[in-house]
């Protein structure tokens, strides 16, 4: 029997200022499943995630959330006011007052030594782990991650993705994430949703990577591109969406 879905989005549409951001998007996530949303910049990936989280209300469509759904959310990046004095521990206290829970979460993400450090004084990779720790404090059965490896160097990215995989295995939670790292997406994800305002294609990574819609969106030589993508990270901050199309592959 198929597990009943943790969360299910049905025919979601959203318009802002006469411009369609999402049209007729459906997805459903079962327990322990890893689902990745890929797509170019402006495809509505973050918007879709915020709708799933309930931060944005769609114009039409319905959202079903399982009654015992506990979401841990990791936002795209921590935009923290530089004036606000916060230690890692104080930041985590906002999600859970229990010191024991905080210690456990930091242990899981491997940053116990940062507990007393000011949040302004840690690296990008460490900041992402702090955010991940906070997401874990709700004892989630669904982790929602919006570009978890953004602003993290290459070796840090691999470690972070391995950590996410490890967390899925040990905590048994489902994962819904936006990622640009096609390499990881293809290797580790159960289901890929290729989004460009609408769902271009979805399914198992292998299936998706052969889908014409995917090929037209990400470029024909995507296999090489995935490899290339690993070597070329200058696009990470501004033009990361259209990664593959941005490069001219000589073949």
């Amino acid at each position: 029997m198929i597990d009943s879905p943790l969360i299910k989005l049905d025919h979601i549409s959203l318009k802002r200022q006469q411009q369609s951001l999402l049209s007729d998007v459906s997805l459903s996530l079962i327990p322990r499943q890893i689902m990745t949303i890929i797509g170019p910049n402006g495809a509505g990936k973050s918007t879709l995630i915020k709708i799933a989280l309930g931060l944005i209300k769609p114009d039409s469509g319905s959202i079903f959330r399982q009654a015992n759904l506990r979401i841990g959310y990791m936002p795209q990046r921590l935009t923290l006011n530089p004036l606000m004095p916060l230690s890692v521990e104080r930041f985590l206290t906002m999600a859970s007052p229990s010191k024991q829970n905080i210690a456990n979460a930091l242990e899981l993400t491997g940053i116990s030594h940062l507990r007393k450090r000011p949040l302004h004084n840690i690296s990008g990779g460490e900041t992402q782990r702090v955010l991940l720790s906070r997401a874990l404090l709700s004892d989630p059965n669904l982790l929602v991650l919006d570009e978890p490896a953004q602003g993290v160097d290459i070796s840090g990215q691999t470690e972070l993705y391995e950590l996410i995989n490890y967390l899925r295995d040990t905590l048994g939670c489902a994962v819904l994430m936006v990622s640009h790292d096609l390499h990881w997406v293809m290797a580790q994800t159960d289901t890929v949703i290729c989004l460009n305002q609408h769902v271009c294609c979805h399914g198992h990574p292998e299936h998706v990577s052969n889908d014409p819609a995917y090929l037209s969106l990400f470029g024909r030589r995507h296999a090489e591109a995935v490899a290339l993508y690993q070597h070329d990270h200058d696009h990470q901050h501004d033009i990361h969406g259209d990664v593959v199309c941005e490069h001219r592959h000589h073949d």
Binding site: Y73, M84, P85, F91, M94, A95, P118
Partner: protein, 263 residues
């Protein structure tokens, strides 16, 4: 004579203890301009109060709260940038207040006192009103402090973790409005924002937690109040501006100290 000074000191300390934590939240949320808007609308409240012959303290409080609610509602109006909107409301209400005041043929009205504060003219009933408003805002602030800090640090995460973000924002705006209404007596319409911003900014470098920042800002504000009053007492300087000047000096001194964030 000592009575006057005592009243002034108590009033000043009450406002300083309110402005510390609120000012910290206001600076973290970058709402300084918002405080200015409310301060300017206080003058409109004053004109209304005089026209209706109502208690000035409460008419100013009410007007500030109405303007705060209006601003809260208008922030979703996307046709205009928020800072422009604040500027328009701020200066329109200041101008409207001044025009209304000019129609009132009230010789006893000391406009200077409202613009720059008249701390030494605080009477016993003023002090009671002040204490009541301060007490209510303090209680709210104490009750909702952790939630307000969480929303300030990261609104989206706070919302997902179940906090009513919009209502907390409205609460913060209303508390700032109330503070403006009481601080008007102390430092005057034009300098209210200073009491919110300067103590909180002066201690920002030293604090290691939001709670420490709030507490240090209260202490800084209290020192400013005392030094300002001392200046007013010994050299006959205007009390309100002296207090703000005292806070300004503390800010400059604070910049010489070590910073928490750079260690």
């Amino acid at each position: 004579m000592i009575d006057i000074l005592f009243n002034a000191l108590i009033a000043g300390l009450l406002v300083a203890s309110l402005c510390g934590p609120l000012g910290a939240l206001v600076t973290w949320q970058r709402m300084a301009y918002y405080g200015d808007t409310l301060a300017h609308s206080a003058l409109l409240g004053l004109a209304l109060g005089l026209t209706l012959q109502a208690n000035l303290q409460y008419s100013v409080l009410l007007t500030c709260m109405i303007i705060a609610s209006a601003l809260f509602a208008l922030q979703w109006w996307r046709d205009i940038a928020l800072d422009s909107l604040l500027g328009i409301l701020s200066h329109s209400s200041l101008a409207l207040g001044l025009v209304c005041l000019s129609f009132l043929d009230n010789q006893q009205l000391d406009l200077n006192g409202f613009l720059f504060g008249d701390l030494l003219a605080i009477a016993k009933e003023d002090l009671i009103n002040l204490a009541v408003i301060c007490g209510i805002v303090m209680a709210l602030l104490f009750r909702y402090w952790p939630a307000l800090v969480a929303v300030t640090a990261h609104a989206e995460l706070a919302e997902i973790e179940g906090l009513p973000v919009k209502r907390l924002r409205l609460l913060l705006m209303l508390m700032v409005a109330a503070t403006v209404a009481v601080a008007m007596k102390i430092v005057g319409v034009l300098l209210i924002t200073a009491m919110l911003i300067i103590p909180a900014s002066a201690v920002g470098r030293f604090a290691r937690s939001p709670e420490q920042a709030a507490l240090l800002a209260i202490i800084c504000g209290a020192i400013a109040v005392m030094s300002g009053l001392a200046g007013a007492w010994y050299w006959d300087t205007p009390a309100g501006p002296s207090i703000v000047l005292g806070a300004g000096c503390l800010f400059v001194l604070g910049q010489l100290g070590p910073s928490y964030r750079r260690d």
